[in-house]
Subunit: 471 residues, 2 copies
């Protein structure tokens, strides 16, 4: 039943032509090596279809021959969804489907193919005077298909939602090659089940997204940005609620950063200048959008109220673009800066917004008790309840010995706190192959049964991204 390597190669060449198939192991590196270097599997082949129809033909062939297909976009995922698990799979790269099919800034919609690089989607929108508000650290490489399949988040979720909420419709190829034409641009459509949202975030296990209609927004006239000093996550939460009451949906970002993040970045020369007003145990980076028809000053006024209520002790507002850029660099370098201090243990978790202070307090205390000297570095999207709950090794520790001893155990400690608070063990990054066992342990068993039933119904032979997400 199973085809030989040669048969697979020949069949794929027949479908897409010889310039669309890579089987030489040395040349497959760009598709096999993923960002965190955790997964090291090979593939039977890489196929790069030049059209939607070619994707259909590959899938029809794969389904008939029981060949596992791993869809891949920009290969920037952090949980191994986009790389093979068994090594017998064919990687199907969408990178040749890279057209913006249409764009209408006035109507607020852009139809982009799966292979469009996120940054190019931004540029296309901006050229029309509009904005596609999904910003990620990896936007120079991440492609729309992967961004949607992983339901990516980023720094703008608070105001604009994650990839799911920014998508109006998708076109996708099912396991057997059928074309699902759900590429509408409707804000309201109650004609049946929400297939769009099922395909978005399914990590390529239910269908291969080939194009999407995406929401565009008018460009703000301006941003009002500040870094403020807060005494604790509790105070930050009160401040977040105050901001929400005062400016509602204009609140574009509310990011929490601990002092250690500033200390590391300054010590390692990662910032040309301290972006904060003064020393503080915690900082919040707050940003409002200002549209052309609204007067400036809302952030300044809100911070004055926050001072009066003693929610903040000091603050600095961005006066020029260079200030805003530095403030955001401080935030965006939080993940990277930890590598300058040796090994770190990372968690991408969320809890209800009101539980963020408890998460940080209980998680830090439990980890510090278990691993004396470990340095908690919890930071991130407080307004979404999404904390990148990271821990740097103790000063002077041996990185390998630290990870060997503590990595798994600290995961267990943090996930226990997260679950107790009603949280999620994967807020943004997904399950992929990294967290399938964890998912089995922590997810509602009925939810798992429902997911397996849906998977079997739409991909009965189990050829779409086999072993990912549901294991």
């Amino acid at each position: 039943m199973s085809l030989t390597a040669t048969q697979i190669r020949d069949a794929l060449i027949e479908i897409v032509g010889s310039d669309g198939v890579v089987t030489d192991t040395d040349k497959m590196g760009a598709w096999l090596n993923e960002p965190r270097k955790r997964f090291h599997q090979t593939a039977a082949a890489v196929v790069t279809p030049p059209s939607v129809e070619a994707v259909q033909n590959v899938m029809a062939w794969a389904n008939e021959n029981h060949i596992g297909i791993v869809p891949q976009g920009g290969n920037t995922g952090l949980v191994g969804a986009q790389v093979p698990l068994s090594g017998q799979e064919v990687i199907l790269s969408l990178h040749k489907l890279d057209r913006i099919r249409s764009i209408d800034a006035g109507a607020g919609v852009m139809t982009a193919e799966a292979g469009v690089i996120l940054e190019n989607a931004h540029k296309a929108a901006e050229a029309e005077g509009a904005m596609f508000p999904l910003w990620l650290a990896s936007q120079g490489s991440a492609r729309i298909g992967g961004v949607l399949s992983s339901n990516a988040g980023g720094v703008n979720v608070l105001a604009y939602g994650n990839a799911r909420e920014l998508t109006m419709g998708v076109e996708a190829i099912l396991a057997d090659g059928r074309l699902y034409q759900g590429l509408n641009a409707l804000k309201k459509d109650n004609t049946g089940y929400d297939l769009k949202d099922l395909l978005v975030g399914a990590e390529g296990t239910l269908g291969i997204i080939t194009a999407a209609s995406l929401k565009l927004y008018p460009l703000p006239q301006d941003y009002e940005t500040a870094i403020v000093n807060v005494a604790s996550p509790e105070t930050a939460l009160e401040l977040f609620q105050l901001m929400r009451e005062r400016v509602g949906s204009r609140l574009n970002a509310f990011e929490l950063i601990p002092w250690i993040g500033l200390d590391i970045q300054l010590r390692h020369g990662m910032l040309d200048k301290d972006p904060t007003a003064s020393a503080s145990p915690w900082y919040a980076l707050i940003e409002l959008t200002r549209m052309a028809g609204t007067e400036p000053g809302a952030l300044q006024a809100a911070l004055e109220v926050a001072f009066d209520k003693t929610l903040i002790s000091d603050a600095v507002m961005a006066e020029a673009l260079v200030d805003r850029t530095r403030m955001w660099a401080f935030r965006e370098q939080m993940s990277e800066c930890q590598s300058r201090e040796g090994a770190s243990i990372k968690h991408d978790v969320s809890v209800p917004v009101a539980a963020v202070p408890a998460l940080i307090a209980e998680g830090s205390a439990a980890a510090e008790k278990f691993a004396p000297g470990i340095r908690p570095v919890p930071f991130g999207h407080m307004g979404d309840g999404n904390i990148h709950f990271n821990f740097s090794m103790p000063v002077g520790a041996d990185p390998k010995a630290f990870m060997a001893e503590y990595d798994e155990a600290v995961h267990e400690i943090i996930y226990e706190v997260v679950l107790k608070l009603g949280g999620s063990v994967s807020a943004e990054h997904g399950i992929g192959q990294l967290k399938t066992e964890l998912l089995r342990q922590v997810k509602d068993p009925v939810a798992l049964e429902m997911m397996r039933a849906i998977k079997s119904a739409l991909d009965p032979k189990g050829i779409l991204n086999p072993g990912k997400l549901l294991g």
Copy 2:
């Protein structure tokens, strides 16, 4: 295999007690008679479980005995989803599950059971200083379970989204009685398929929603509301885009109303005073939210720009609550006012926002050509591309003869235009039993196959709301 009426009654009484079962036809009227009086079927029984566990027990019994179950909330649906199709079904009313389980305005979340009346959800939120921003004409009767199962929209979708976007998680009972515990309050959770959005809008065919965690928003300080005169839907579209550029997400409503709507309401004494500035072929009702921390005046300033660009010729701003109330009454009476002029043919359709002018022009022309003297009354949520495209009979026509001759044919004419423009034949109201045949004709066949596969996977015996949505 099939149970007798007595067996059904006895089994249900054993599960929920005798005060939870109605089988007397005379007493079932409240559950059988739906708002538009189109469907006239009976039921084997009505069961009113007092707890989630009782719902589970009813479903386990129904699944074992192949009994069709029709879940029902406030019985306000307009497409017959909530009433029986064959007459052999048992109606399962959720009205006894009417607790607000928890509410946290600061965190922005309320957990409400399926039987909570929408208006009571509003009141509970307001009592905590927050807002649940889903407003419907039927909110005094509609219940949360039905609101979510039909993915209801309403007048606030532009700023806050429809029911789906306002729901963070659901608890639901599956066909065989299993309890799906998806009641989280997380803004980000990428741990598997989006089951919440599959259950929301499924019209009770995949599971019975018993509770939901709903998003709450801070109460605006104020609204800025105006009715402006626009020459045409094209101009209204330009004005909508101008408003979006100037105030972004503060735009709370942008409703289009034709002159005939004002004329009818004034002639029949439905308004104490003309809410418009002067006569105009079209009006737009525009509303902005203003949070406490933002200065007033944005609508006034935007309208001045619109005057300068000759997008509007006259305008009146609401100066007091009574003005705002009258303006909204004018909009909300649009559906009802048509009944004062005899029969009318109604369509709940949507198109991409940019296609609204074409929809109105082409749809009106085609209908007027086919039915001379027919009076187009297209109105509604322009900002969502969702037009209630209604037609009043010619002046002096016989209502019955008019409907007999034109109802079906005008539907076909309008749906043809809608589909040509990439639109939806059911923007808000759903499919129910009214539009199953239409859905089969117009929906992407692969989408229908996917929906049927999911239905079979989650409800293999087909007992959940049989015959609805997928036919």
